[in-house]
Symmetry: C2
Amino acid sequence: MQPQLLERAIALAVRNVQAGTGGPFGAVIAKDGVIIAEAGNTVTTTCDPTAHAEVNAIRAACAALGVFDLTGCEIYSSCEPCPMCLGAIYWAHLDRVYFAATRHDAALGGFDDRLIYDEFAADTARRRIPLLHIARPDARAPFEAWWRRQDRVPY
Amino acid sequence: MQPQLLERAIALAVRNVQAGTGGPFGAVIAKDGVIIAEAGNTVTTTCDPTAHAEVNAIRAACAALGVFDLTGCEIYSSCEPCPMCLGAIYWAHLDRVYFAATRHDAALGGFDDRLIYDEFAADTARRRIPLLHIARPDARAPFEAWWRRQDRVPY
């Protein structure tokens, strides 16, 4: 844990608000203590609801390194990652996550992070966004095509 | 529910594998039955671990409509959205999700969707990727800057 990197993520979040670039969130990705990428939230200015600080930082780090796997890297976030960002962290195979503010702080800030965590924990039948499984005989066809392909690239 | 849109998402997933563009996943976003955007998974070919079919479709739909809120739209996915994609669906405020294959089918396909759902449900102390809260006196500074900004754009 390098305290100055978490401090930097918080400073990025404050600057992001002051610059009008997006929500009050910042993230830094480092490898062996060296910063690979950093980003603020740009949801409203890039018209992209997935453009959270952590997702932006992951995309930037992958672009910088030319990889889709960030094994060996750590992420410092100004706030506890929301479920989308935590999922992205798993897919990116980051080693570790450090965060300062919590989902409860985010809720006080007017953000839905805690609500979305609560939705994940709720029974699917009681969720705000209906999630409907439609059984189809061809549902596994994409996976069958995947296994047939000898040169498939796993991730 | 328009069965042909789910069929289209599955066909996209199969074609995505055949074209070597990425993993066996496809998604279609529609509004009032009209397709707004569709996408396959491009993780390995765009070096972006967040480039799942649903995230790509959400980004494309927002770009097409010039919005960061897809209220009024529905998403059809070839497979149950992973936690990252489900989080993105909440942030995009999609109305409804239809999917064909399940997280268990994805696991048989060699994908980590179910594992990541299990991680979300696990106690943070027992997770594969350590998630560490570092308390800091300035943790809420970004939210304070946010509330001070009169012209903030919520999302």
